[in-house]
């Protein structure tokens, strides 16, 4: 288990690096029980990405059954941190959604609009 892997309550993140990409595979339910831990994890992701020259993070949500607004905010804070970097240091975040989990469509629309060019949603 590396420092970017995480498991608590019903939420799990498995991280894998492949060249200039980092894949975060999420599963379960991200809610108030894991809100601080998710925020801390995204902090570690940010530091690792900058330190290791990673250019893109893929967040796989296909097995994520539900995410509450507090955890949603954790992703917002992360995206804002990337936006506030000098342009050459900014990296790309791509979300991989599931059509089965209908809530993802509208939540990701909101987050991608907010994230501008830094954020893309696969399949849109």
């Amino acid at each position: 288990m590396n420092e970017l892997d995480f498991k608590a309550d019903e939420f799990e993140v498995a991280a894998n690096r492949d060249g200039e990409e980092l894949l975060l595979r999420t599963s379960g339910t991200a809610d108030a029980r894991v809100e601080p831990e998710l925020a801390a994890l995204l902090d570690r992701v940010h530091v690792r990405v900058l330190g290791d020259g990673i250019r893109r993070v893929i967040v796989d949500l296909r097995e994520l059954e539900f995410m509450n607004s507090s955890c949603f905010k954790g992703f917002v804070t992360w995206i804002v941190r990337v936006r506030r970097l000098p342009e050459p240091e900014q990296y790309h975040i791509r979300f991989r959604p599931s059509a089965q989990h209908h809530w993802q469509k509208r939540s990701l629309h909101a987050i991608s609009y907010f994230g501008g060019e830094l954020v893309t949603i696969e399949g849109t």
């Binding site: 809610d31 539900f66 509450n68 607004s69 905010k73 989990h101 809530w103 509208r106 909101a110």
Partner: protein
Amino acid sequence: MTFEPSGHLISVVRRFVRAMCEQILGSGEFSSQVALVTHELLENAVRYCRDEQTSIALAVREQGGALEVEVKTENQARDEDIARARGLLDRIAEADDLFELYQSMILEAADRVRGSGLGLIRICAETELTLEMTTRAETIVMLARLRVPGGQKQ
């Protein structure tokens, strides 16, 4: 249903509500939206309740050829929390463009240390449910309502 705060129980209730709605409305977006609203309202109720008691009621009824789904939570809350919820709902009601308001509240949330302040706006901006709040003394009642024309399964 009345229960003491527990994150695990909120997830159990969300899944139950979703499964029940899927039997009535199908497995499409409406059931997912009712489940989302249930979770957000319950987490708010649990987070801000004063006496560790939160109740939730789910009702589905046929009305004028449509199905109406209601999710209602009740809990005791502090005056300042009631005022904050009222202020948020007023801001939502006064918005000319709900999505634009959602975007500005997302930006405000980014620098918050505790909580997100996004639960109520998320309900209003990401679902078809309408949201009303009433108070009785120190009790806050949140009522979310979805009307499905024709009541057809998705």
